[in-house]
């Protein structure tokens, strides 16, 4: 015992504490945005989006034929690297808390896991919108430069509907990555899962549709990749096509996300 021991009475009389106010949601979103890019992997993903988009658009400029010089092609070229990297950013935004165990700090500072995951979802959406805007801007620059170099008329061949579908294509990709992250809560498993679902599964389903005719009609309703390609091509137009997108989104994103969130709420953070 030291001589400085204070009796409980003196402690009661200690100056009153500031009254703590709840952490505002906007602050959580800002923190989550920062966390997406202040790690080494996050930093390089940001750089690769910033660098690969112009490189990809530039290669179209150099290697493409004069007839390739259209806004659509440039946006596709600059957007391609993003469509691969954005879902991985979405996955890591969630899984890092478990795979890197930073969740121990995150969830003690903000005990409401729903709020943390919600903030991550909004931050992911903002990153997606930001990246897609960059793709459109880089595509526009490429298109202007390309048409000037080739001496052809500048073709602005992206309708509003198509532009929206291209944005949605990227956001759906990110949402799928996010849902995988919430369900698996493990970086490696979620990334592997993402590539299996986007590279391996479409081939199997396409094959199945070829050999089983009954599946051919069913495929667009359950094949996530099928509706993604339709979005990228701006070919989701009829009510039926939107319903197909709704169906695949329900199967691959909404249901896994709901299941994942339920288990995440109760799970132990170690």
């Amino acid at each position: 015992m030291t001589a400085t021991t204070i009796s409980p009475d003196t402690i009661e009389a200690a100056p009153p504490r500031r009254t703590a106010r709840p952490i505002p949601a906007i602050r959580l979103v800002k923190v989550e945005l920062r966390k997406m890019f202040n790690t080494r992997s996050g930093f390089w993903m940001l750089i690769s989006i910033g660098a690969l988009s112009p490189i990809s658009a530039g290669s179209l400029l150099v290697l493409g034929l004069d007839s390739d010089v259209t806004y659509q092609n440039f946006v596709r070229a600059s957007g391609f690297p993003m469509s691969v990297i954005l879902p991985i950013i979405a996955i890591l935004a969630v899984t890092g808390e478990w795979s890197q165990r930073s969740g121990l700090t995150t969830f003690t500072l903000v005990p409401s896991r729903e709020r943390v995951i919600g903030a991550k979802a909004i931050a992911t959406l903002l990153v997606g919108l930001g990246a897609v805007s960059v793709a459109f801007a880089v595509g526009a620059l490429g298109n202007v430069a390309g048409s000037a170099l080739a001496g052809v008329d500048t073709a602005w061949d992206i309708s509003l509907s198509m532009a929206l579908q291209m944005v949605l294509y990227n956001l759906v990709g990110m949402a799928f990555g996010f849902a995988l992250g919430v369900v698996l809560r493990n970086s490696a498993a979620a990334i592997v899962g993402y590539f299996v679902a986007s590279l391996v599964m479409p081939g199997i389903l396409a094959l199945l549709a070829q050999v089983r005719s009954w599946f051919e009609d069913l495929q667009p309703w359950i094949d996530w990749h099928y509706t993604q390609v339709a979005l990228l091509d701006g070919a989701t137009n009829t009510v039926k096509e939107w319903a197909m997108l709704g169906s695949t989104t329900m199967i691959w994103i909404v249901i896994p996300l709901a299941v994942g969130l339920l288990s995440l709420r109760r799970s132990e953070v170690k």
Partner: protein, 299 residues
Amino acid sequence: MIAVESLTRRYAGFTAVDNVSFTALPGRVTGFLGPNGAGKSTTMRVMVGLTAPTSGSATIDGVRFADLPNPGLEVGVLLDASAQHAGRTGREILTIAADTMGLPRRRVDEMLELVSLNPTEAKRRVRNYSLGMRQRLGIGTALLGDPRVLILDEPANGLDPAGIRWMRDLLTGFASQGGTVLLSSHLLHEIEVIADDLVVIGNGKIVAAGTKEELLAAAGTLARSTSPRDLAHALEQAGIPSTLASDGSVRTDADPARVGAVALTAGVALTELRSAESAGLEDMFLSLTADTQREGVAA
């Protein structure tokens, strides 16, 4: 004040924490002891809402941790210094914690200085930190919000001797200003020096709790004599059970005054007579947790 009431946490097939109740009072350092796997870390995780209890509750000043509006400003927590994103710099880890709590960025510099991480180290990624540096960073994160309660799991792990001394002064200072400190440690000597109160847990159950003085007093008396056998015999005659250790010391639960009186009556010259406090914590710990020790140490 931290109050744990009838806390139980069951996993499939075994009970990690079994009906645990104790309090950690303001102005005091409470040491939380137990063998590996006794349930210390699980109890601490339940306290801060990372693990849901099967039954029972843990509250900080009467409020469940999860209901605190901005917990970082009220409770400083360090459960595992290695649980940080390895790709982040030390400074970034403090910055995102400060941002979350809504604190000014200068708090980050103040904390880095407090835990003695220099600017070059703060710029390095945690992947390249030693355990001691991670521990310092974790303590910095815990103290960032100027909390009045600290919950620390093995904070002295990996610290160098100067760091351990620094931590000891920090925690006694914190408690003397009215703060509540709950810390677990395997370093019994550390706990013995720093703790005012002790809670001992074994196999998920509380096996002893109280002030350090009470618990160690129960550890009894150590006496030495030129003829230890005669001393042990005299004590036995007086109805005081004692044990004669191989080093010639005689231990008993009776207080030193009584042992001295018995020795005087029997005419046995004592060469040493003291309460067994200095070696007491380790003995007490081993005897209290004897049933739960992996090594099966005899009490």
